[in-house]
């Protein structure tokens, strides 16, 4: 069976700027999919292409088995939630939520009933008669959600749905959004630049850069097994080690030279090939004394930042390789390493990421 949404070789250019570049993507029914990327990477354009506010320069967009070429926004089984909510300032909350229903010919009791059900869904039962400017930011966000859901879209597009909220409110709302999505079983596509938001919300995340999808995967896989340096660097903090393959066996490789780092991988890498490894800071252990652990390297502490729950270190090997690492401090009587001290880092070969680029 064909996927619910299928983008095939979609491109979109504005004048001489290519916003979306030959992009293909399948999304299944009921997914909560996140498009994550820096501003200007083309993620909002992609969303607007799906909504029908823009039409692709090249390629096809299919939703629920139908080609969307030439289909107006109003005629798509899709609704859009705008970044700044785009509430109609001159209409009440109920007027806003009911706008799309009235356009579909719903009137009278049926309209009231449906509007009330929607307001209940977003927990705004008693605020139907308020005007948008009388609401808090979080309430407005929920009105926008209810309005976008009113026509029972098969697909809901959310453009930075939480960006306008403050941090505390954003965290609560994230879970609420996931709950509503699960309850309705509607497909959601969320655009965001906030990786934490994407990780919390999404079943799958697509990372975008320069109009293209760099990697599409579950949040965990993206973090633990990024395909290339861009994704590895984009999500969280990471240390890169560039080297040449010195040894190759069944389960993995080891680098040549003075850092003989071993990594588990099934990538086809021959001896002598240049390779880039990456290690997440929390996977690296730092200790004062040497041990027999694999991948042990002598380092000097260059810089440290005490965060309370942990300490961030930047350490340097004698050959000049930098590592960023985070040390949890489990016992308070432990004296952590300080500036200029020499110690040893080690990390499991399992945790070393071998990048494909």
């Amino acid at each position: 069976m064909a996927p619910f949404i299928r983008l095939k070789f979609v491109s979109k250019s504005f004048a001489d700027v290519v916003a979306v570049d030959n992009l293909s993507l399948d999304i299944e029914k009921g997914e909560l999919f996140c498009l994550l990327g820096a501003s200007g990477c083309g993620k909002s354009t992609l969303l607007r292409l799906l909504a029908g506010f823009e039409s692709p320069t090249k390629g096809t967009i299919e939703i629920d088995g139908h080609d969307m070429a030439g289909v107006a926004p109003a005629d798509r089984p899709v609704n859009f939630m705008f970044q700044n909510y785009a509430l109609f300032p001159h209409m009440s909350v109920a007027g806003n939520v009911g706008y799309g229903l009235r356009r579909a010919g719903v009137r009278g009791d049926a309209l009231d009933e449906r509007v009330n059900a929607l307001l209940k869904l977003v927990r705004l039962q008693n605020l139907g008669s308020r005007k948008p400017h009388q609401l808090s930011g979080g309430q407005r966000q929920r009105v926008a959600l209810a309005r976008a859901l009113a026509r029972r879209p098969k697909l809901l597009l959310l453009d930075e749905p939480l960006a306008a909220l403050d941090k505390k409110l954003r965290e609560d709302t994230q879970f609420e959004l996931v709950d509503i999505q699960e309850k309705l079983d509607t497909t959601f596509i969320v655009v965001t630049h906030d990786q934490e938001e994407a990780m919390t919300l999404a079943g799958r995340i697509g990372i975008m850069d320069a109009g293209q999808l760099v990697q599409v995967d579950e949040p965990r896989k993206l973090y633990e097994r990024p395909k290339n340096s861009f994704v590895a660097d984009f999500l969280g903090t990471i240390s890169f080690v560039d080297g040449v393959v010195g040894q190759r066996d069944k389960t993995g490789i080891a680098l040549d030279g003075d850092l003989k780092i071993r990594a588990i991988t099934n990538l086809d890498l021959a001896v002598g090939k240049a390779v880039r490894l990456a290690i997440r800071p929390e996977k690296i252990c730092l200790s004062r004394t040497a041990s027999t652990a694999p991948n042990q390297i002598e380092v000097v502490v260059e810089d440290l930042a005490y965060l309370g729950f942990a300490t961030n270190y930047r350490v340097k090997t004698p050959s000049g390789q930098m590592f960023k690492l985070q040390q949890q401090q489990r016992r308070s009587n432990e004296t952590p390493l300080s500036w200029g001290e020499t110690g040893y880092v080690h990390f499991d070969p399992q945790d070393v990421i071998v990048l494909e680029d």
């Binding site: 504005f14 916003a19 501003s39 200007g40 990477c41 083309g42 993620k43 909002s44 354009t45 607007r48 970044q83 453009d159």
Partner: protein
């Protein structure tokens, strides 16, 4: 009404678009552009007794197509140089100094308003706009009551013993300048206020912190940043002031001739429509430079407005 709404709501988009452009375009072409063409034509016709009081420029008579083209009206303007170009120069001079006087009052007023607290800003802006919304003719009329030899100021001056005899204020350049300020001051204040209110007070603090004195701050920071407002306001005052009729007619003396007044006299008193048209064309020619400059400025302001707007969502 509902029917109309439903009808409009289902017009094809392209028809609607064309209509929105065509309606005003046609109206303005017929009632603004054509009249100017007609004025240009009439300025080349010969005056005659009758209705209308000029011979047609061209037409079809018993002998077929004929034309009555003459440059005589412009020749007349040149011949009676002092009668026509004198007022033209006088118009420019009075408009220029009126603009300066307006600027002298408007600059501190706009600064005052822009630096007030929000509450006072609203009150002062309403005070500036209030006269603008009331009839300028009636306010000029009130000014006459103030400036007349037996008017309020002279009466008050005599009563207080400040003057021995009534001052001649009416029918002088002074009365014209006051009338211009009365009429055009709000047009100068508003663009100045618009640039001044956007001027970040921290810039002044930073300049003072770096050792600039009051006058230096004004010369190096405030003045350069408010020049767009000065230019916009000056054009808004200067252009209509050149063609002004009511102020010289009511407040000026018989020797304070301005082009507007001369045109009016030629048209209504002498009923010489071709010459009046020629004066109108001359007036437009004089104003071409500032008008085109104003359009250019306008375009520039819009362009910067655009660039300040966030880039469209990607």
């Amino acid at each position: 009404m509902r029917g109309l709404v439903r009808y409009v709501a289902h017009l094809p988009a392209v028809t609607g678009r064309r209509l929105v452009i065509a309606l005003p375009l046609i109206w303005l072409a017929v009632f603004f552009f054509l009249p100017l063409v007609e004025t240009l034509q009439v300025s080349f016709t010969t005056p005659r007794r009758g209705i209308p009081p000029y011979a047609p420029l061209w037409g079809f008579g018993d002998d077929g197509f004929f034309t009555n083209f003459t440059t005589g009206n412009y020749a007349l303007l040149l011949q009676y140089w002092s009668d026509y170009f004198g007022p033209a120069l006088n118009s420019i001079k009075l408009a220029f100094f009126s603009t300066l006087v307006c600027l002298a009052f408007a600059y501190p007023m706009a600064w005052w308003i822009a630096r007030s607290t929000e509450k006072w800003r609203t009150i002062l802006l309403v005070m500036v706009m209030l006269p603008f919304w009331t009839s300028s003719l009636l306010r000029l009329y009130a000014l006459i009551g103030l400036l007349n030899p037996n008017g309020f100021i002279n009466a008050a001056g005599l009563w207080l013993g400040l003057i021995d005899a009534p001052m001649q204020m009416m029918q002088t350049d002074f009365s014209i300048y006051i009338g211009m300020v009365l009429t055009y001051l709000p047009l100068m204040i508003l663009p100045l206020y618009a640039v001044m209110v956007r001027l970040d007070a921290d810039l002044l603090a930073a300049a003072a912190d770096l050792g600039a004195s009051g006058p230096e701050i004004f010369r190096t920071i405030i003045l350069p940043l408010t020049i767009p407002g000065i230019v916009a306001g000056s054009l808004l005052v200067f252009i209509p002031a050149v063609g002004e009729f009511v102020i010289p007619a009511l407040l000026g003396g018989p020797d304070q001739l301005m082009m507007g007044k001369v045109l009016w006299t030629e048209f209504f008193r002498n009923r010489d429509w071709p010459v009046a048209s020629a004066i109108a064309i001359l007036l437009l020619a004089i104003l071409t430079v500032p008008i085109i400059y104003a359009r250019y400025q306008d375009g520039r302001v819009t362009a910067t407005d655009r660039s300040e707007r966030p880039v469209e969502a990607k």
